[in-house]
């Protein structure tokens, strides 16, 4: 018999797999397509939304529209999509509804329309405020255009804006990175994401003759500078690469690190629902077929039911991405056993090695005990997290 209890809220991820042109470092499932293809895709996505709403019995508390470049959508397409979404799901009135915006694909009017359709948070892919770096990355916009789109977003009524930035770029030095950070902060966004570049296999970057990449030392110097500089400017690092003003941490992304359920919709989108991981087909034909046939099983590829141990592993290595780490009382109530049972020895070792720290947090009169990575622990997070694989 299925246990009946309060139904947990779910997050939705919607994938828009099209862009104007592939950036040189990008290994996401994305590529250029014709206007017609994009429109057909929105139809398909709407069909999938209607088809799969039954998988989510409760409320939806966050929605994230990612890509590709979702801001390539027309105002009309967005309206269609959002209407379909609110028809199919019970979206919580205070839900966080984010989308990614490429500065080269939107203007004030479009953004206003997106806002009217229900989007309340945007994440602008700025990456750099240095035009030379932007060219190298293969971005389709300039630093100036990024600034313009930010102002346009504000004018369109967006009160929650993130800027995506990239450090450790080929040829990048501390001064250009500092310039990018200063420019970003001067715009006053609520949230900043700053990623160290990873050169992924199969991307042009992996094949190209590039200016020298910063050394590990330089990379870490940039990373540590970022934390200090942003802290001075009111942004707290709450995850390895994410910084926010008080109250503006991205709820959708935090869900990924805290075991929140999410349903992925659209080409290749991943889901985690009721302890199962699965994902939509990566191939458009297969995705289309499954949606048109109403074949939910075909949309649940690589399905894998996580054992309690696997959920514990994930709880640890995902939770430790956040600077507040893991609440050991939450762990105990989720798994019905103390965290020490499986991980006591490892935790002990990591505390001794200065990779982990423990502390207490007072929240609503309740004392929480938390375990979090130290600064060095964050630098070598993979090394630490591997020890939590059972």
């Amino acid at each position: 018999m299925k246990e009946i209890g309060p139904v947990r809220p779910v997050s939705l991820y919607l994938h828009f797999p099209f862009c104007v042109r592939k950036c040189r470092y990008c290994d996401f499932l994305s590529g250029p397509a014709s206007e017609e293809e994009r429109d057909n895709y929105i139809d398909l996505l709407c069909r999938e939304i209607r088809l799969r709403s039954s998988e989510v019995p409760g409320q939806v508390d966050t929605v994230f529209l990612g890509g590709g470049t979702p801001s390539l959508m027309t105002a009309a397409q967005m309206r269609r999509l959002m209407e379909c979404l609110s028809d199919a799901f019970a979206i919580f009135p205070g839900a966080e509804i984010s989308m990614e915006v490429n500065p080269g694909t939107a203007d004030g009017e479009k953004l206003r329309s997106f806002r009217e359709s229900g989007i309340n948070r945007i994440s602008i892919g700025v990456q750099s405020f240095d035009d030379e770096e932007l060219r190298l990355l293969g971005r389709i916009h300039t630093a100036g255009e990024a600034r313009e789109i930010f102002r346009a977003a504000r004018a369109a009524g967006f009160a929650n804006i993130n800027l995506d930035l990239m450090s450790a770029l080929p040829g990048q030095k501390m001064d250009t990175w500092e310039h990018t950070l200063r420019e970003a902060v001067s715009l006053g966004p609520e949230h900043l994401s700053a990623y160290s570049l990873i050169i992924e296999e199969g991307t042009p970057f992996a094949r190209m003759q590039l200016p020298a990449l910063p050394s590990e030392e330089e990379d870490r110097e940039m990373y540590h500078f970022t934390r200090q500089f942003l802290a001075q400017n009111g942004y707290r690092r709450y995850e390895i690469s994410n910084y926010a003003k008080e109250g503006y941490a991205c709820r959708h992304n935090c869900g990924y690190w805290t075991g929140h359920d999410y349903l992925g919709l659209g080409l290749g989108a991943s889901s985690f629902l009721n302890g199962e991981r699965f994902k939509n087909p990566d191939a458009m034909d297969q995705y289309r077929e499954s949606v048109l046939r109403g074949d939910i099983a075909g949309l649940q590829q690589e399905k894998e039911l996580l054992s309690p141990e696997e959920q514990m592993e994930e709880c640890m290595f995902l939770g430790l991405r956040m600077t507040d780490g893991i609440c050991i009382e939450d762990y105990q109530s989720r798994f019905g056993e103390p965290v020490e049972k499986r991980f006591g020895e490892v935790i002990e070792k990591h505390l001794r090695q200065g990779l982990l720290c423990s502390g207490t947090v007072e929240a609503g009169g309740i004392t929480q005990h938390r375990l979090a990575l130290t600064e060095y622990g964050l630098d070598v997070a993979n090394y630490v997290m591997a020890d939590y694989i059972l």
Binding site: Y13, E216, E217, Y256, F272, K279, E302, D387, I389
Partner: protein
């Protein structure tokens, strides 16, 4: 039965072996002879019947002696009994070779018509001549375009000094000239001598362990008769047993018969449980009517090369022990005893006849017993003379006494003969010099070929000498050696320290003059093999507490994935699982996590120069 019967069989018997340099076609010729005498049709025959270990077939070498009885009806109309004894073909097994030869009365010398005489040709022929065997040559591979049969004949006559004018010209591969070889066996190899009435005197030339019958003893009857039910005694080991079965060798099978008499070659079983009770070289006699003297030449094969063997997965330690025990059932010269290493855990110190023997055992352990092994650097047996007048034979560098208590040390020296075409004499002499060789002589075989004679420390040739020889002579040089004895040498123990802790598995004995180079190389290579840790890790080479080389593995600065969102989690987990797997294969030494392969790679690289 009458003496006449025994004599008649004896006169029609020919006991012989085939000697050759590796790849000159010994096994192929044996196959053709078996085929031609009708024992097996070629369709039934698996190639090279006599080399029956998979490994032997792959490497084209013979490790265990094999024997087969063939019946050949000669042109004179008489049916002859041929006992063809296949001898091991490598210097590591010289003692086994010598015992197999002692079971023969003659030998066929196979020489490749395209290559002529090689180092092992000479070594094996000399060995055969030492055992008073009548040797006749055959020239093989005459079907090849580059065959030079006339030149090779002259070479045989000039260099070895045996008649070669009417040597059969054959191609074992194509089956050409096999009949001539069979006729030559009848004519040129003498019938065995021996007295069937005398007390039993038989030579053990090999043995095999069978889980049902116990040890199967391969023997050549010199005098007397061995038959079922007879109590027999092994004269050197003193073991007594009652014969359960006697028989002779069919191709790939044992064929029981009533008895074996003087001059014959065959086997017996006597419920002997341990191969050490029936050692190669021992003399079998009748327990109640023993012969007066055992046959000469018995000696126990002594391991010359030692190394530590450890399972990569420590849980496999019992499996490794079982596998070694099983191999030892068939290989009395394999030595092992338990040892413990801080770096590698529980394992065994193993002794081998030589490097090839070691390689063969390692391969068999990995292949036949599916074990993943780590071996420490092979070393030789050093004699350590202590100030208190005692001497210890050192097989494990970790057991070296305190240097203050050492008076002097000795290392084993071999006499080596290297055959090489004259254009490579320079590079080969240089190689020998690098390996602390002492030049003795150069003998020219012909205008373009010479034998270089050197004395070399065994320690210097057990690593990669053979490979170096091949690479510096474009594959032309061939090499053979014999243990000469022990000599005083300036030897030191080198320790490798990781994070200031000595790694026992990496300690080795080295000549003082080569210590610095070797230490530096080890440190450099270890640096590449040790993953970065949470702190700087010094790697040092030390001789007697003095650091002679140092490298540093820098602290791990960054190992983090910047992004991990919904779609990345499964992939991220796979990465972490892989990382965890890697950690599991780590051994902790001095607070440092070192992958077990690192030891192996460093030791391998150390050999690679």
């Amino acid at each position: 039965m009458t003496d006449n019967h025994y004599d008649s069989i004896r006169r029609r018997t020919r006991n012989f072996c085939i000697v050759a340099h590796i790849d000159h076609g010994k096994s192929t010729l044996a196959d053709r002879m078996i085929e031609r005498t009708g024992l097996l049709t070629s369709r039934e025959m698996q190639d090279q019947v006599l080399d029956n270990m998979e490994l032997e077939r792959e490497r084209g070498i013979t490790i265990k002696s094999q024997a087969v009885r063939l019946v050949y009806k000669a042109k004179d109309g008489v049916e002859y009994i041929f006992n063809l004894i296949d001898t091991p073909g490598h210097v590591d097994f010289n003692y086994e070779v010598s015992r197999s030869l002692a079971a023969c009365d003659g030998a066929i010398l196979v020489v490749d018509a395209t290559q002529g005489i090689q180092a092992q040709t000479l070594a094996n022929v000399y060995l055969a001549l030492e055992h008073d065997l009548d040797v006749f040559p055959v020239i093989n591979k005459i079907d090849l375009p580059s065959a030079m049969p006339e030149e090779v004949k002259h070479e045989i006559e000039d260099v070895i000094g045996i008649e070669a004018e009417d040597a059969p010209l054959i191609s074992a591969k194509q089956g050409i000239g096999i009949e001539d070889v069979l006729e030559a066996v009848v004519e040129k190899i003498p019938a065995p001598e021996g007295d069937a009435d005398a007390p039993l005197k038989a030579l053990i030339f090999d043995s095999l362990y069978d889980s049902y019958r116990g040890v199967i003893v391969f023997c050549r009857i010199r005098d007397g008769v061995i038959r079922k039910g007879m109590p027999v005694r092994m004269m050197a080991t003193g073991a007594v047993a009652e014969v359960v079965e006697v028989g002779y060798f069919g191709p790939g099978q044992f064929i029981p018969c009533d008895e074996l008499a003087a001059g014959q070659v065959g086997y017996f079983t006597a419920s002997i449980k341990n191969i050490k009770d029936a050692r190669v070289g021992d003399t079998v006699t009748e327990n109640l009517r023993p012969c007066e003297e055992p046959l000469p030449g018995y000696k126990r094969a002594q391991p010359m090369v030692y190394c530590g063997l450890y399972p990569a997965d420590s849980a496999k330690y019992p499996d490794l022990r079982d596998a070694l025990e099983k191999l030892q059932l068939n290989d009395a010269s394999l030595f092992f005893e338990p040892e413990t290493s801080l770096a590698l855990g529980f394992g065994f110190r193993c002794g081998f006849l030589g490097l090839l023997h070691m390689e063969v055992i390692l391969e068999r352990l990995e292949r036949e017993y599916d074990l993943d092994l780590i071996s420490t650097a092979p070393g030789v047996v050093y004699k350590v003379y202590k100030t208190d007048g005692t001497m210890i034979e050192l097989t494990n560098p970790s057991n070296l006494p305190d240097p203050a208590k050492i008076e002097h040390m000795e290392e084993p020296i071999v006499s080596a003969e290297i055959m090489v075409t004259t254009e490579f004499i320079g590079p080969i002499m240089q190689l020998c010099q690098e390996r602390r060789g002492r030049y003795l002589d150069t003998e020219y075989i012909e205008a373009t070929r010479a034998v270089l004679k050197y004395e070399l420390p065994l320690n210097e040739i057990i690593y990669d000498f053979f490979d170096a020889l091949k690479s510096r002579s474009r594959g032309y040089a061939s090499f053979d050696y014999d243990l000469k004895g022990y000599e005083t040498s300036e030897l030191v123990k080198m320790d490798i320290l990781v994070n200031k802790e000595p790694v026992d598995a990496l300690s080795f004995i080295v000549h003082a003059a080569g210590a610095y180079d070797r230490g530096r190389r080890m440190c450099e290579k270890l640096k590449e093999e040790i993953p970065r840790q949470l702190f700087d890790v010094p790697i040092q080479a030390a001789v007697g507490g003095r650091i002679i080389a140092r490298e540093t593995v820098r602290q791990l600065r960054k190992d983090v994935l910047a992004k991990c969102y919904g779609g990345d989690i499964s992939r991220k987990k796979k990465l972490l699982e892989k990382q965890k797997e890697g950690k599991k294969r780590m051994q902790i030494v001095g607070n440092v996590e070192i992958p077990k392969e690192a030891f192996m790679n460093v030791l391998k690289l150390d050999a690679g120069n």
